[in-house]
């Protein structure tokens, strides 16, 4: 919901908001330029009377004297029936050049205020300011949610290029954008007279004036009492009308000055509405506050970047969603399918189910579990397909499901069935599906089918479950699922470094190059300067479909495309289909694989220390992070192996990284040596140092087996106890990330 509130207005009004922001950015420079030009006397140095006297010397036909908020002074005068306007020196009253407002600035200002469309355009610009306010607030709320709370807003960020820039720049400029939007809305409302701005209150014209002859302007008491820096405008009396008066506007109020006695007449101080308006006007335009103007201008200039990265993020998310044809509205559907998925593979199954049910003549509504509605008026059955993330947690699209469940009602007679997706190799197999089923039962809803689980995307098991659903519906339901896989690429093995044979843990670091595509394409790609590698970073996942199985296996990448090779670290498991295939792959041989971005698992932005924890082949992506630590941020590695003589993975590289300070500290633990220890022991032994790093805002990245991750978590909870922290809190703050298998 919040996301829609952010992306829909953002997409719809992107061009409009960009136009206003860019024109505002251009205008923001004006106050600073004017200030550079203007000479501002000290307070109390020059009175309005003194200046007016000097001006009278050079411009006997002066009609009007104006002071801009930046301090520039302009005299309007008539000479031989010709009207003129000049900028004058505030000390001498002498002209320093013709005053001609820049045509470009006037045009940009008109564009900014009304899109050159008059009153209609002003209304549109006001709406754009509202959109900007909505985008700033919803964006901030989304960011707070992503980082685990409002207090965590300044935490380091992770994510792909667009995501990271969008959030990083966004939080930097959001205050400026909020100020611009709020003040813009206020000014628009004042312009349409929805808010009083106090501009209409005018002092009454004096009824009686001193009948005496006009005194020289420099002698008028009221003008002598007014400091030049407080002047807004002085209008001279009509020379042909002896009953006329000077009209004086200052920062504090407006009134008239008798040209004979010099008395201030009908003075009226600005009311609070006027003062508020002027303050907000100043905050919006930066007039007289040139530094604020420039700051607002810089934040406005970020809007095109925000729009483009935002649109790209929306597009990527949109692309990743399977296309569902005939998706009924939630309140019309008789069958509701809810999907909990971390990387979209469960969505593929949901689509197969959706299409088959639609074919059977049902009205089907399919959505993410997070989009659970508060009611489904016509629902007869709720089918939940969900994966499990990490150690029994909810996957990304189901994180809010359990919280929302308490507020949802189903029509009487409606029931549910849960289908879990997972991998039996792991403990906590389909744990979140079990949690979901329990929660639904506790809700008191009838269970239509007992929990079923799908091991490693088995299409047969899915088809069996489809039969059961068919029986429930009283008709045949054939679920034929063909998994859609990302486009894979051909890779050629170019290097293999072997470790661990002596300790029964044969492990290889494998390096691949992109296999040359057929002649013409390669030539074309070279011509276009495109990298044949594609883009990936250390920590992303490599999906390999081994011969003899349709299900891809994922390996964490130990290199980024900038390294020029694709590197993985693989341990050979007894009977392992894919690891066996990779270990037997001869140098020069090819394999097909695809890359799945994993932007959450990489070091966040900023200078905070990074604690890397891993065991065995978990070193792979961690070594990749260290290799790419060109900025030399503090990185501390805790790693566990078996025997330093045999399976000290990446030993030469790590020593090199220590020497050139890409790695600050290396703590290796070995389990098959005399004083055997595990990585969690190292963490406990180093607790004091660890706490100091955490207090400095350190982030923790853990990669390795599930058991290791569990032990590490327990050890860290122990370490964090004196700080009143635990791993769960760090996780919620986005400071603790795992890549476990």
């Amino acid at each position: 919901m919040l996301r829609q509130l952010h992306s829909l207005p953002g997409l719809l009004a992107a061009l409009l908001v960009m136009l206003l922001a860019l024109s505002g950015g251009v205008l923001s420079v004006n106050p600073a330029l004017e200030r550079l030009d203007a000479k501002v006397p000290a307070a109390g140095q020059v009175s309005v009377a003194e200046l007016a006297g000097r001006v009278a010397h050079y411009y006997p036909g002066a009609e009007q004297l104006q002071r801009s908020p930046s301090g520039a002074l302009i005299v309007y005068y008539s000479e031989n029936g010709q009207a003129g306007a000049e900028r004058i020196d505030p000390l001498t009253g002498q002209g320093i050049g013709t005053y001609a407002p820049s045509e470009f600035s006037t045009w940009v200002k008109d564009l900014h205020r009304s899109l050159l469309l008059g009153s209609t355009g002003r209304a549109v610009a006001g709406i754009a300011a509202l959109v900007m306010l909505l985008l700033s607030i919803s964006g901030l709320a989304l960011l707070a949610k992503r980082l685990g709370g409002w207090r965590q807003l300044l935490r380091p960020l992770r994510g792909g290029f667009s995501q990271r820039w969008h959030a990083e720049v966004g939080r930097l400029v959001v205050l400026g954008l909020l100020l611009s939007a709020l003040s813009g809305i206020y000014m628009s409302a004042a312009n349409f007279e929805l808010i009083a701005d106090g501009m209409q209150r005018e002092p009454d014209f004096p009824q009686t004036v001193d009948p005496g002859p006009a005194a020289p302007v420099a002698s008028l008491a009221a003008l002598r009492a007014t400091d030049l820096n407080d002047l807004r405008e002085l209008v001279y009396p009509n020379p042909s009308d002896p009953g006329d008066v000077y009209s004086l506007r200052t920062a504090q109020g407006d009134g008239y000055v008798d040209q004979a006695s010099g008395a201030l007449l009908s003075y009226q101080a600005h009311d609070s509405a006027r003062r508020v308006y002027e303050l907000i006007y100043q905050l919006h335009t930066g007039e007289g506050l040139w530094w604020l103007g420039l700051l607002l201008g810089v934040s406005a200039l970020s809007v095109p970047l925000m729009s483009i990265t935002g649109a790209r993020l929306w597009w990527l998310r949109h692309q990743a969603m399977p296309r569902l044809a005939h998706n009924s509205a939630a309140q019309w559907a008789d069958t509701v399918i809810l999907v909990g998925s971390e990387n979209h593979s469960t969505w593929g199954f949901a689509k197969t189910l959706h299409d088959a049910l639609h074919q059977s003549g049902l009205r089907v509504h399919t959505a993410a579990m997070n989009q659970l509605a508060s009611e489904y008026r016509h629902a007869q059955r709720l089918l939940i397909l969900t994966a499990t993330y990490g150690d029994g947690d909810a996957p990304a699209s189901a994180r809010q499901f359990l919280a929302r469940l308490t507020k949802t009602t189903l029509p009487p007679g409606a029931g549910f069935a849960v289908l879990g997706f997972g991998d039996r190799q792991f403990p906590q197999f389909c744990q979140f599906a079990k949690v979901t089923e329990t929660a639904l039962l506790e809700r008191g809803w009838p269970r239509l089918l007992a929990l079923e689980t799908i091991d490693r995307q088995s299409t047969q098991a899915f088809a069996r479950w489809g039969n059961a659903v068919g029986q429930l519906l009283g008709q045949e339901l054939a679920l034929v699922h063909k998994p859609v896989r990302p486009r894979s690429q051909s890779w050629q093995l170019v290097e293999r470094v072997e470790y661990g044979a002596q300790v029964q843990a044969p492990t290889s670091v494998l390096r691949f190059k992109a296999a040359a595509p057929p002649g013409n394409v390669a030539w074309l790609k070279r011509l276009l300067g495109a990298s044949t590698l594609g883009h990936f970073e250390a920590g992303d996942l490599l999906g390999i479909v081994p011969p003899g199985s349709p299900v891809p296996r994922f390996y964490s990448l130990a290199s980024g495309s900038a390294d020029g090779v694709l590197e993985i670290c693989v341990r050979k498991h007894p009977g392992g289909l894919c690891s066996g295939f990779l270990h037997d792959l001869p140098l020069g041989a090819r394999m097909d694989a695809f890359i799945q971005p994993n932007p959450d698992f990489r070091p966040g932005s900023g200078k905070a220390p990074v604690i890397l924890i891993g065991a065995g082949t978990g070193i792979g992506p961690l070594a990749g992070f260290i290799r790419n630590n060109r900025a030399r941020h503090p990185m501390h590695l805790y790693w566990g192996g078996r025997n330093p003589a045999s399976d000290f993975l990446y030993e030469p590289e790590l020593n090199r990284y220590l020497a050139d300070r890409r790695l600050s500290q290396l703590n290796a633990a070995f389990s098959r040596v005399n004083d055997c220890s595990y990585v969690q022991d190292r963490i406990l032994a180093d607790a004091l140092h660890m706490r100091r790093l955490i207090e400095k805002g350190a982030q923790i990245l853990v990669c390795g087996s599930r058991e290791m991750a569990k032990s590490v978590m327990q050890a860290l909870d122990h370490v964090l106890l004196p700080l009143n922290l635990n791993v769960l809190t760090l996780k919620a703050q986005g400071r603790y990330r795992e890549d476990v298998y």
Binding site: Q64, S78, G81, Q82, M199
Partner: protein, 161 residues
């Protein structure tokens, strides 16, 4: 580029009772033609009003510009009319852009013509200077149709009886 705006109104212009004959009043349509110069900037606010020979404000003929908060910049007119809305109710219209022509018809008592009255025009543009009485022409049968130029934003002004 020039655009023509034609406005006809049937608002009788009220005058002080001293100069309006009691009982039967002969009224007549007067068309005000105003052509603005080309200048950079926003639309101009204009006030057309009648003064006596001494320049004393008598009544408002027409105000171009709808936002009352800017009226104070039409300085002589503002002073004369005291900005009382009863002075300009029903005789206001849109502001006039650079290079545009404004043509409005107002009704005026016959007795005011050739009686020593003047038509004056004040003008103002946002962020630019304001002009008071940039046009001053006598309201006479002879003066009808004769063009006068203004000292500010007005290129040419004439009235037709």
């Amino acid at each position: 580029m020039r655009r023509h705006a034609m406005r006809k109104i049937a608002a009788a212009v009220c005058l002080a009772s001293a100069i309006v004959l009691p009982g039967f009043v002969q009224a007549r349509a007067v068309t005000l033609n105003t052509e603005l110069k080309s200048y950079r900037g926003n639309d101009a606010y204009l006030a057309f009003y009648l003064t006596d020979a001494n320049g004393q404000y008598q009544s408002t003929l027409w105000v171009a510009g709808k936002k009352a908060k800017y009226y104070k910049h039409l300085r002589d007119w503002a002073r004369g009319s005291g900005l009382n809305s009863s002075e300009f109710d029903g005789v206001t219209g849109a502001s006039v852009g650079s290079g545009q022509t404004l043509k409005v018809t107002v009704e005026l008592a016959d007795a005011l013509i050739d009686a020593g009255y003047e038509i004056r025009v004040d003008s103002a543009v946002e962020d630019k200077r304001e002009h008071r009485a940039e046009v001053k022409v006598a309201l006479t049968s002879q003066g009808a149709g004769k063009s006068a130029s203004g000292s500010g934003y007005i290129d040419a002004f004439s009235y037709d009886l």
